[in-house]
């Protein structure tokens, strides 16, 4: 009578709490005029893999149909929706506002907050660039966290161009650059220093360590402005500055912070990235960002920004509340 690792049953009282969270999320999606869509639980692996980065693709459950075609349970919802929009909804008026609340599956080591079957909820704003679209996505995530009852949740934001710009400034060889990027993203200062030492570039350590440790408010943006050489990096900083100001105006001051080392482990992000968290949980509650290169991979020239959360993580955070 054993269940497979990373799966669970929902008894009536538990399911009731889950449904309450889902209803609160759907209300936020509806108030923002996002339309819910559904895609198959499994798809052709080659199609999903062309959108997912290597890490997400590696986490997919794989199986084959009788003709030997490789199929995968979707590990997340953004790629299937990008595929859907790029094919069946090509003619739709942009911007397009879509949301989902569906099971997804990841072949990870199961642990708290990381189940192999989980309920993904989120929204995607497709075909809209610029500050307004980024703000809509970011603040809808805060609204969703409020709506499910996590009013103390905070969101850290970053822009992927900032780290790129600082790394560009050092003109590392590709292998060193990739190792530095990885060390900053995981905030592994020991490996960052070791990489630079081994490459004979120890003089870069103070700047990159400062970048990896930088977290806070507008003060952090001033630090970053000093480190950031390129036009795209500075544009990224300005985007973050504008979002912080917007947070202030909307009454979210103190709930949005800057973390210059926040680089989500999904490869498709191209601009703003963000992650929400609460004190009582050691894992992020929600995450998202801008992914302008994903739909073009499916032959549809449109940028997009979105976020998602796992309903199960919200439930753990709610249960753990002091």
């Amino acid at each position: 009578m054993k269940l497979p690792a990373g799966t669970r049953d929902w008894l009536p009282a538990e399911l009731q709490r889950k449904h309450a969270v889902e209803a609160a999320l759907r209300a936020v999606f509806a108030a923002r005029d996002y339309a819910e869509v559904q895609t198959p639980h499994f798809e052709r692996f080659d199609v999903l893999a062309s959108g997912l980065g290597a890490e997400s693709a590696a986490a997919a459950f794989l199986f084959a149909d009788r003709s030997g075609t490789q199929l995968a349970l979707r590990p997340e919802m953004t790629t299937p929706i990008a595929r859907l929009v790029s094919s069946r909804m090509r003619g739709a008026a942009l911007p397009l506002r879509l949301c989902y609340l569906q099971p997804a599956f990841r072949y990870d080591e199961p642990q708290e907050g990381r189940m192999r079957e989980f309920t993904a909820a989120g929204l995607e704003l497709i075909g809209a660039d610029g500050l307004e679209a980024d703000a809509e996505s970011l603040f809808s995530a805060l609204e969703a966290l409020d709506a499910v009852g996590l009013r103390e949740a905070r969101i850290d934001i970053n822009h992927v161009a900032i780290v790129e710009s600082v790394l560009d400034g050092f003109a590392f060889e590709a292998r060193v650059r990739a190792a530095c990027h990885e060390a900053i993203a995981t905030r592994n200062l020991v490996s960052l220093r070791a990489t630079l030492d081994a490459a004979g570039r120890a003089s870069a350590a103070p700047v990159l360590v400062e970048l990896a440790m930088a977290r806070g408010g507008t003060d952090v943006l001033d630090t970053a402005a000093r480190l950031c050489g390129s036009e795209t990096g500075r544009a990224g900083l300005e985007r973050l500055r504008a979002l912080l100001a917007r947070a202030q105006d909307l009454g979210y001051a103190g709930r949005v912070g800057i973390d210059l080392a926040l680089l989500r482990d999904i490869a498709y992000y191209t601009g703003l990235v963000f992650e929400g968290y609460v004190e009582q949980a050691g894992f992020p509650i929600c995450g998202g960002g801008r992914y302008d290169d994903l739909l073009p991979r499916f032959g549809f020239a449109a940028g997009a920004v979105g976020w998602s959360l796992a309903v199960e993580r919200v439930l753990i955070a709610l249960e753990r509340r002091p």
């Binding site: 905070r154 905030r187 200062l189 050691g282």
Partner: protein, 209 residues
């Protein structure tokens, strides 16, 4: 905000506790049979098996912790390594019987058996070199295995080298050098940022530069 810190019992304990005391956290000389204690400044210490520290930190049950790099290599846990604390130095090495002369370049047998507690590190080492091996997971006295024909090579931690010498084993290659590390939960790094950066600065004054 006060932090919860995972502290390894065993070989690293004395130096870890001394380092915490130098940082203003009065860790006890000997935790005895206690599982946890709260120090005068409100820091909560969890006394853990060394190999359990990464799990406590990754789950957020501890905000941060002190752990040997060798344990981190094996655990593959998602924690941020903020500082190399320098103590607890040892080497992860490939070793063999002196008479087999692998250390002098004698070729390995085609079917190579390697015994280790550090199976992930051992696997990665031989995979990188494209050497097919059968790894035998052992839990202690790994140095016995080549003497009785269980394995051709061992992958093990060496601090002084005395154990190898006593059994007439020699180092064939060094895989990595391990020292104690200060690790944090990536999300707690944000929610307890001030306290973490403060503790990092006290544990490792050179860390922030």
């Amino acid at each position: 905000m006060s932090l919860t810190v995972g502290v390894p019992k065993g070989a690293l304990y004395d130096e870890a506790a001394a380092r915490l005391r130098a940082a203003g956290i009065d860790a006890p000389e000997d935790p005895g049979r206690r599982l946890t204690c709260t120090t005068a400044d409100g820091t909560r210490l969890l006394f853990l098996r060394p190999t359990d520290v990464p799990a406590y930190v990754e789950f957020g049950a501890a905000d941060c912790g002190i752990v040997g790099a060798d344990v981190l290599w094996e655990s593959e846990r998602n924690v941020s390594e903020l500082a190399d604390l320098g103590f607890g130095a040892c080497r992860l090495v490939v070793a063999a019987r002196r008479v087999d002369r692998y250390h002098e370049g004698a070729p390995f047998p085609t079917f190579l058996r390697v015994a280790s507690k550090f199976t992930k590190s051992a696997e990665a080492y031989f995979a990188e070199r494209d050497i097919p091996v059968q790894i035998v997971k052992l839990h202690g006295s790994v140095e016995l295995s080549p003497l009785v024909g269980l394995a051709d090579l061992i992958v093990d931690l060496v601090a002084t080298g005395n154990t190898l010498r006593e059994h007439d084993l020699v180092v064939v290659d060094e895989i990595a050098r391990s020292t104690a590390r200060f690790v944090v939960n990536p999300v707690r790094f944000r929610s307890a940022y001030g306290a973490i950066v403060d503790l990092l600065g006290r544990l490792d004054p050179g860390a922030a530069s």
